[in-house]
Amino acid sequence: MNPVRNENLKNTNLHPEISNGVNIKVQNLRFAYKAQAEILKNLSFQIPASTFLSIAGPNGAGKTTLLNLLSGLLKPASGSIEIDSKPISSYSVRRLAKKVAVVRQEFVPVFEFSAAQVVSMARTPYLGALAFETNADKEAIAEALEMTDTARFADRPLGHLSGGERQRIFIARALAQQTPILLLDEPTNFLDMKHQVGIYDLLKKMQIEKQKTIVSVTHDINLAAQYSDMVLLLSADSSYSFGPTREILTTERIERVFDVQTFSAQIGQTKFFFPLGKFTKSQSSPPGF
């Protein structure tokens, strides 16, 4: 294996017009945590409405940081983020919650809220002064439970559900929030293969049926290859590549960004990638393996 190190990737920035309107526009974004080197440098990309974007890259490349910037949780050091052609800083917390829903890595609160109660919290930005759910709120909650196939365990405490069921509940909550944009941080972490595909099928369904813009941070290049329209590949050295999935996910680039020897295979329309360790049992393996 002879990986090419420290080479800046060319910024492809293709901006294909997949559908009308631009939901998210990021320009010259910079961010650094206190007293640390910049984790994101001069990042610029546009995500057209109803796009499925995967954000991938090695650990520490700034994937979750970027998600927190897009959700307004962190403020950029410089540069701008626009949601629906308006700067993210111009949104109140409540108005932004009507535009962007976030599914973070799994978290179970200490209080035993039922799954339905958790989903109902999605309606918080819509509730009136008395903070009781109206019929419209209840319809949104019921629809979200139905779409995510979670209604049958909605009355059970969240802590009593399996990891996959809990993740579906948090996606149901994001759906009940009725936002055009959905951000997810490694939604298939800790899930088995069946549930990984189940979650991504669900996200794709939401993209197609509800015209949502989906931005998902993932470590799974092959899920990204199968489901996303576009990919943002962040490198540890703050360079990045952005564009249509097939153009961004190439064996050469994956080897460079992840610093690992990779084989690829085409199955149908999709190219799949397999990282190879030093002891892989293949033709190139050393004798004895």
Binding site: N68, S71, G72, L73, V93, R94, L96, A97, K98, V100, A101, V102, R104, F107, P109, V110, F111, E112, F113, S114, A116, Q117, S120, M121, A122, T124, P125, L127, A129, L130, A131, F132, E133, K138, I141, A142, L145, A151, A154, D155, Q177
Partner: protein, 343 residues
């Protein structure tokens, strides 16, 4: 979908708890060292003062004391609910976190500075109690973060340390008080419900009910905050603002309760936990029902405190601690694993 709260079910539950409180207050008002005949009470005060002792004891001693106990219970239970939500920690409680001793230190400081022991009605003691309570919240939060984030153990540890420190300072102050005041001060510090005049009760009732109402208006947001600041913000809740408001209101009603009764511990732990087991974790109903049942709990504890070694009386804080201590240990063993990893 069956468990989403509706205004009707909330009103039903509040009515149920209110009825329970009224029954408890009525029954406890009849219990005491001195046996009282209800018919004598209903006969009225009589023509000259002291003519009808049953009436005098019932109206002038028992009823004010029971109202006072109810106010203290409501304030401490509601404060516990709010603190548990914002700290995402079922073991948070004004006494355990040291907020009560902070408020007590405020009262003691005001007392030593020469203010009389009468509470409220323009006395700076209330303000001092509140300021010290708020200061303690900040101190516990700050120390807890120094000790490794807002995990269950670091916050509790910070509360225990600050509680111990304040107790030492209070003891030092107590030793400076002349012997006449000493006994009443120590009884007050151990949490005692004595006689208070009507204006004190009225003012405290207004403050406590206003504080609990304030907390109720943010109770749905407390649900969301239980998932963490980031989650709350994504769901349209400003976590800093709600945390600040909840801390201020919880400290305020705790300070009023401490001014009334001294250090009564564990009410904010036992009551919200029990109510959660009955009605579930939704803060929109947890807060008002905990306040009402907390009131009933302290009325019962105070009735035990004033009758169990009669004619002498125990501080009510002794009874709540005897009940609350074991509950705390059970909850600690149950939750420490679950919440130990929280950020």
């Amino acid at each position: 979908m069956t468990d989403l709260l509706t205004p009707r079910s909330l009103i039903n539950k509040i009515a149920l708890c209110l009825a329970a409180l009224v029954v408890v207050m009525f029954v406890c008002s009849l219990v005491g060292t001195q046996k009282i005949s209800l018919s004598a009470v209903f006969a009225g005060p009589g023509d000259t003062p002291g003519q009808n002792t049953d009436y005098d004891i019932f109206v002038r001693v028992r009823i004010p004391r029971i109202i006072l106990a109810a106010l203290v219970g409501a304030a401490l239970a509601a404060s516990g609910v709010a603190l548990q939500a914002i700290l995402r920690n079922p073991l948070a409680e004004p006494y355990i976190l040291g907020i009560s001793s902070g408020a007590a230190l405020g009262v003691m400081t005001a007392a030593l500075a020469g203010v009389s022991w009468s509470f409220l009605g323009g006395s700076p003691m209330a303000a001092m109690a509140f300021l010290f309570a708020i200061g303690t919240v900040w101190l516990v939060w700050f120390t807890g973060h120094l000790a490794g984030g807002s995990t269950v153990t670091s916050l509790l540890l910070a509360g225990v340390v600050i509680n111990a420190f304040f107790s030492a300072v209070i003891m030092l102050m107590t030793s400076l008080i002349d012997s006449e005041q000493l006994r009443s001060t120590i009884m007050w510090l151990m949490g005692s419900i004595g006689e208070k005049d009507f204006s004190t009760l009225l003012a405290s009732a207004i403050f406590i009910i206003a504080g609990i109402t304030g907390l109720f208006t943010i109770s749905q947001k407390l649900n969301v905050l239980a998932f963490g600041a980031g989650e709350a913000q994504s769901l349209g809740v400003n976590p800093r603002r709600i945390t600040l408001v909840a801390f201020a209101l919880a400290s305020f009603i705790t300070a009023v309760a401490v001014g009334l009764s001294g250090l009564v511990g564990f009410v904010g732990l036992v009551v919200p936990h029990s109510v959660r087991l009955i009605f579930g974790p939704d803060h929109r109903q947890l807060l008002p029902t905990s306040a009402l049942l907390g009131a009933a709990f302290v009325v019962i504890c105070d009735t035990i405190a004033r009758t169990i070694i009669s004619p002498a009386q125990l501080p009510v804080g002794v009874i709540t601690a005897i009940i609350g201590g074991p509950v705390f240990l059970i909850l600690l063993s149950r939750y420490s694993k679950k919440v130990g990893n929280l950020r």
